[in-house]
Amino acid sequence: MGTLTGALPLPAIAGGHQKSRVDYQNTQEGILVRRAQAGDEAAFRDIVERYQSKVFSIIHGIVRQRNDVEDIAQQVFAKVYFSIKNFDFRSSLITWIYKITVNECFDYLRKKKVRKLVYESDLSEDEVRRVENTEPAGERQPLADANLARRDYVLKLLTRVSEEERMLLMLKEVEGYSVEELAARTGMNENTIKVKLFRARQKLVKAAQRLDRAPGLVAG
């Protein structure tokens, strides 16, 4: 598993103590961000080059449509460009970019779902059946691929929690952050992280119950 912890330095942690916002602004990454905030194009390019692989991996993990990964990544970095002035150094840069990326992926999935519904509503039942039969085998039988079914299921559950909860769950579960690392990267204290994650998990369980489908049924 390629975790952020393994791939990137931890700007907010030094010797186990949490650094302040001012300290982070004076790190190499903080200086890079401040240059980008001042309109330095070279600094923005540095940020893109530093995090593009990570962003591609996050998107690929969620969306799985290789053709769309680059489009979404472009949108992510365009948003980073336009919003970098609002970055307040409360969290680390990658945590901020991670949140933008996850939100962009969910936005993409939501739009894709709407487009599919609109498209299907324009077709007759016979036409829908014909289109389904001409789709590639992988998409024709999504449940045959247990991993794809589990992915769709967890994505559906994640739409029932807030953006912040979704980001914390993803950072903890997918990226493998510890509570201590999450606290350092988000600027929240450890107890707050624990309580937020606990509530998020409760919501996931309730959402699973509401979907009337025990998670065990879709697990591998």
Partner: protein, 148 residues
């Protein structure tokens, strides 16, 4: 859910509890059916997340940065309507100043209006408004008076 579970849940799910803490955690689950049921549900949903890990590392294709620049330029290109748009804070100030000006002007006009009589003037009023010592002026005014 009991505090001992909330406190240690993340480390328990991540397999990072010290042996003694793990024993305490599991001992509580043995005696508390409600916590056991909830933790089971959380462990099941937790196990679903590995499906969100990218199956392979993807690297950005050549020319990716150039395409971002193009995307950013597209977002920056001024449209016809954007020429009329204002910065939000500045716009709020303009709206506030306009409202304040309207309020001051309105109250000024209302105070001026009270100086005039509301209805049409009668001939008696015209006579009362004139200096009674100047008979010629009053006669001229009365001959030119038009009854509305």
């Amino acid at each position: 859910m009991h505090q001992v579970i909330v406190e240690s849940l993340e480390d328990y799910i991540g397999g990072a509890l010290a042996p003694a803490e793990q024993r305490d955690f599991e001992a509580h689950l043995e005696i508390c059916a409600e916590c056991r049921r909830e933790v089971d549900g959380m462990l099941e949903t937790s196990s679903l997340f590995d499906s969100l890990r990218a199956p392979e590392e993807l690297s950005a294709p050549p020319g990716f940065y150039a395409r971002i620049v193009a995307e950013v330029s597209k977002g920056q290109a001024p449209t016809f309507w954007s020429l009329f748009s204002l910065d939000a804070a500045f716009g709020r100030r303009v709206v506030f100043a306009s409202l304040l000006t309207m309020a001051v002007l309105g109250s000024f006009l209302i105070s001026r209006e009270t100086g005039y009589s509301a209805g049409p003037t009668s001939s008696e009023t015209v006579m009362a408004e004139h200096d009674s010592t100047n008979r010629d002026t009053m006669l001229v005014t009365l001959t030119s008076y038009y009854e509305p």
